[in-house]
Amino acid sequence: MDIANGAALPDRDTLLDWYRQMVLIREFEETCYDLYEEKRITGVYLHLYSGQEAVGVGALAAIEPRDHAITAYRDHGVALARGVDPGPLMAEMMGKRSGVSGGKGGSMHLASREHNFWGGFAIVGGHLPLAAGIALEAQYSGRDDVVLCFVGDGSSNNGYFHEALNLSAVWRLPVVWLIENNLYGMGTHIDEASGQPLLHKRALAYGMRDGGRIDGQDVVAVNGALDEAVAHARGEGPVLLEALTYRYRGHGVSDRQYNVRLKDELEEWKAERDPITRLGACLEEAHPDSRPAMSALEQAARDQVLAAVKFAEESPAPDADDLVRNVYVE
């Protein structure tokens, strides 16, 4: 399967940079998976982004550093694509003091204030009104920043979704609501969870711009759609759109059956629509000399993640003082 569907292709450097980010995310996530199997990452929650890289990378490439990104607990890829250093991210997975959240948030609560990456939220839908509030601050202060809010298909069914989207429409807040429709909320398929499984159509009910459904495995398509959505949000108000994607590692590490339960479907998504393979093929076709550059990026990703693991494992754990710190602003 091709990418871009005939749309203008960004230049070689841009494509290579997206490739770099996507292979970094994949490497980071697969390493997390292995580390969890080896009990070097512990706990019960670890939701991997493998398979969804094109959504995060393509979408975040459409916003500026002054803009804002916020997501749910499947947050590693978003953090990396926002430019957060893999070392402190990996340290957070391992519950180290050098983690982005001091080892107190864990995999589901990554954030980096300096990157305008507002987190990582584990309550389904809980971050949606926060996105509205962050957008309100920008609007209130007379800036034209935009908030890019990643939304799970499953979370489009709880009350937060309705209330936050409606509020954003009433107040014309600069939010791009991007549903990452990976077909499932844990084990429940979208067809069994939504009366209208074309989730982007809900835009009509809120009186906001419908950005349509896009192929979330095509980074160029994602980026193109997000460019438009961001421009609309910046000038006129909220947009809802939906990227169709797929999770390669099931819901999370507690989902031990995903590769049995979803075997055929999983293999099909991997074989036919893998976002990294597709971007690689596109690069080679448009720029036949780019294979060595891609190989170098793959190697760099491996090195970077190895260094991140080393950094994390060598970092000290938080101590009793850290335990009680930052409950309040003292």
Binding site: R113, G133, Y140
Partner: protein
């Protein structure tokens, strides 16, 4: 200091208005806070004075009101979000507990959440079960949040200002029954009541009455009645349910060696249980009698006036409890 006699409703309005004038980042949001003038008229006139940017009518969306307040506060504004009544805050419990209260800790200090959730609270107007709660202890359960519950107009004024200026999220409970009651309000725009500091409303040597909000009124009435019978009550107004000024309770208890706790809320897992536990853990050597609690009855509230009031605490119940231990 000069003061004016005003109802609590006016004291709250004055505090809000002055804080909005003082700090451009302070804004009000909630259901019917603007054009309608506020369900309880606390925001009366603010919409006309400040306009719809700073006095924001919202849809009936408690989760979004509280959640958007959290986001706006993280980003640098100082929202004052009104819950029309505290009963409706139950819909937003997640935004309040999991987000407002925990975000600072969860992200290890990267964010602060300087906001106020104002909520009209209490029961006794035949509002029926779903609309009759004094659930402040539920919110006070969670570290990360402060809980304020003023008993007088002067405190309502100072505590709301403190809450708005503080860097932490505050659940600010306003007793509906106290809104019309007058009291002195200082003529001082910087009148603040420190977070977590209670106060002695009346000195006495025989029994300590510990209360908050409406319980203070019942306690003072009871103290007046008991004085005529030769019993001297000290009345402690806690003012903040979190942080809880236990030192003030202990200081009083060391003097009186007896305590009755008075609360508008339900008895199980309550303010009363908490204070009684603190006293027995820390004041065992000073105890001359069991610690008593006067709470609402452990029931949902009925509509019928004849039985509704039976379930509520009042001054007579406080008097009876004191008599059991003196």
């Amino acid at each position: 200091m000069a003061a004016r006699n005003q109802p609590m409703r006016e004291a709250l309005r004055k505090a809000l208005r002055e804080e909005m004038l003082r700090d451009e980042r302070v804004f009000v949001m909630g259901e019917e806070v603007g054009k309608w003038q506020g369900t309880h008229r606390i925001t009366r006139g603010l919409y006309e004075e400040f306009g719809d940017r700073r006095v924001r009518d919202t849809p009936i969306s408690e989760m979004a009101i509280c959640g958007a307040a959290v986001g706006a506060a993280m980003a640098g504004l100082r929202p004052v979000a009104e819950m029309m009544t505290i009963n409706f805050a139950f819909l937003a419990l997640d935004a309040i507990v999991n987000h407002a209260a925990k975000i600072r800790y969860m992200f290890d200090g990267q964010f602060s959440v300087p906001l106020v959730f104002r909520a009209a609270s209490g029961w006794g107007d035949q509002a029926t079960a779903s609309h009759s709660h004094a659930p402040e202890p539920i919110f006070a359960h969670f570290p990360g949040l402060y809980v304020a519950a003023p008993a007088t107009p002067g405190d309502a004024y100072g505590m709301l200002k403190t809450a708005i200026r503080d860097e932490n999220p505050v659940l600010f409970s306003e007793s509906i029954a106290l809104y019309p009651k007058p009291g002195p309000v200082p003529d001082d725009e910087d009148h603040l009541v420190p977070v977590g500091k209670g106060t002695i409303r009346r000195e006495g040597a025989d029994v300590t009455l510990v209360a908050w909000a409406r319980g203070v009124e019942w306690s003072l009435q009871a103290a007046g009645q008991l004085e005529r019978e030769g019993v001297n009550c000290e009345v402690v107004d806690m003012r903040w349910l979190r942080p809880l000024d236990m030192d003030l309770v202990y200081d009083s208890f060391r003097k009186t060696n007896r305590c009755v706790i008075v609360e508008e809320s339900l008895p199980m897992y309550s303010f009363g249980s908490e204070i009684a536990a603190g006293i027995q853990e820390n004041m065992f050597d000073h105890m001359d009698a069991p610690v008593k609690r006067v709470s609402a009855m452990d029931l949902p509230l009925p509509y019928a006036r004849d039985i509704e009031l039976m379930a509520l605490p009042d001054a007579d119940k406080v008097v009876a409890a004191v008599k059991e231990i003196v």
